[in-house]
Symmetry: C2
Subunit: 217 residues, 2 copies
DNA sequence: TAGATTGTTAATCGATTAACAATC
DNA sequence: TAGATTGTTAATCGATTAACAATC
């Protein structure tokens, strides 16, 4: 029974990475946990804990080495490995994601797109061709694809997920507005656009409510 | 000093809502906390607490009234109010979001799009016209726009946010890959696509690691 | 009625934060 | 050196879960 490892969330690590990548003047070689904490809006102790958890040591008075931290976070998050991926659903959102230039820098290589629309099959989005669904299994197997991105309408998302899983992917990133179900060995991340919307609307409402209360006091 | 209200997260509420909307046979009028919990992968006690927190009472033996729950969640999350919105950045992602049909059902009314590309100005995405940035302030003010969606490249996101705030929006939903800063009275939700990617890659890596450990035992 | 399911209090758990000695 | 900042233990906090009497 090991002591519980306090695994830092991938989200926080990726926020640190962004900060290190963008918000630092090239003249400075180190950052303090406090500097990071100020921007990410998090406690400096938590930053130090996260860093320690991924074996990054800082230097008292100086802080953490920026280059070293960037490298280590990339490593931990898997950005340095090539992740062979296909995208199913070459609509607007799918095309937008396929064209997202940053993905490549994070190791995400989208090898092929798939769609059911015969008019789209054989055409290109950037350098990637759109294939018929009947090719999915072959391509996933022969190209050793490990991840599938789903950007189809909600009512076909589960069927697409099933096909991807049957063909052997171990990860699914789903942008369709429905909960998909997969075997336990497949990692699924569901992006709930409407949950994001709910969150912002709710927080606006809470804020208005608080302001009313303050006036009432 | 009130007792702490255990505010349910908007994300959970929106997941409940989806479940109620989609996963229930029209023949049944109620659901138990257990049924919801099974699908959402959450403890049934937590579901009951969340329901209680938004003043939904269930009936022992029966559970919660589905119609009543849907209505109440919509109310709490603000889906029943019209949220007047503009979208800045009519690229692929922006157009995809503007065309997303479900948003309307959640109260999100995108009134106008904006872009800097002169070739796009005056053209339409669905029924919405694309305007020049110089029109932003006028339209936000005259149409009482409360929210802005940002889908521009990272390097111009802050400037767009500043313009939206200056024009009077109280909420910003930002899809650009950068952290934007706003006054405290503005609610911001930052969608970090790369954080989502980091999360799924990280979980795949953790899972592989666990499997190796199991074999080693 | 019997028993399934709620509503709520108390217990647990883990994540975050405070505190502070160690150290460059 | 003096003092800023780390690394880590202990304290706090809040969210989740367990337990169970109330109730339809």
């Amino acid at each position: 029974m090991n002591a519980k490892i306090n695994r830092p969330t991938a989200e926080r690590l990726s926020l640190y990475y962004h900060y290190l990548k963008e918000h630092i003047s090239p003249a400075e070689a180190t950052v303090s946990s406090q500097q990071i904490a100020d921007i990410i809006k998090v406690d400096p102790t938590l930053v130090r804990k996260d860093m320690a958890a991924i074996s990054l040591r800082g230097r008292p008075r100086a802080g953490f080495d920026i280059e070293q931290a960037k490298t280590r976070i990339r490593e931990v998050l898997g950005f340095n490995t090539v992740h062979r991926t296909v995208l199913v659903g070459a609509g607007r959102l799918g095309s937008a994601l396929a064209a997202y230039p940053e993905f490549r820098d994070y190791g995400l290589h989208i090898l092929a797109l798939f769609d059911t629309n015969p008019a789209k099959i054989g055409t290109f989005v950037g350098a990637r061709m759109i294939y018929a669904m009947s090719e999915l299994s072959n391509i996933v197997r022969s190209q050793n694809v490990e991840m599938g991105i789903i950007t189809v309408p909600a009512d076909t998302a589960q069927s697409v997920a099933d096909q991807l899983v049957a063909a052997g992917v171990t990860g699914i990133w789903c942008f369709s507005a429905t909960q998909i179900h997969t075997p336990a060995n497949v990692v699924v991340r569901q992006e709930h656009l409407s949950a994001g919307l709910a969150d912002i609307l709710y927080r606006q409402a809470v804020k208005r409510h608080e302001q009313v209360e303050q006036v009432a006091e």
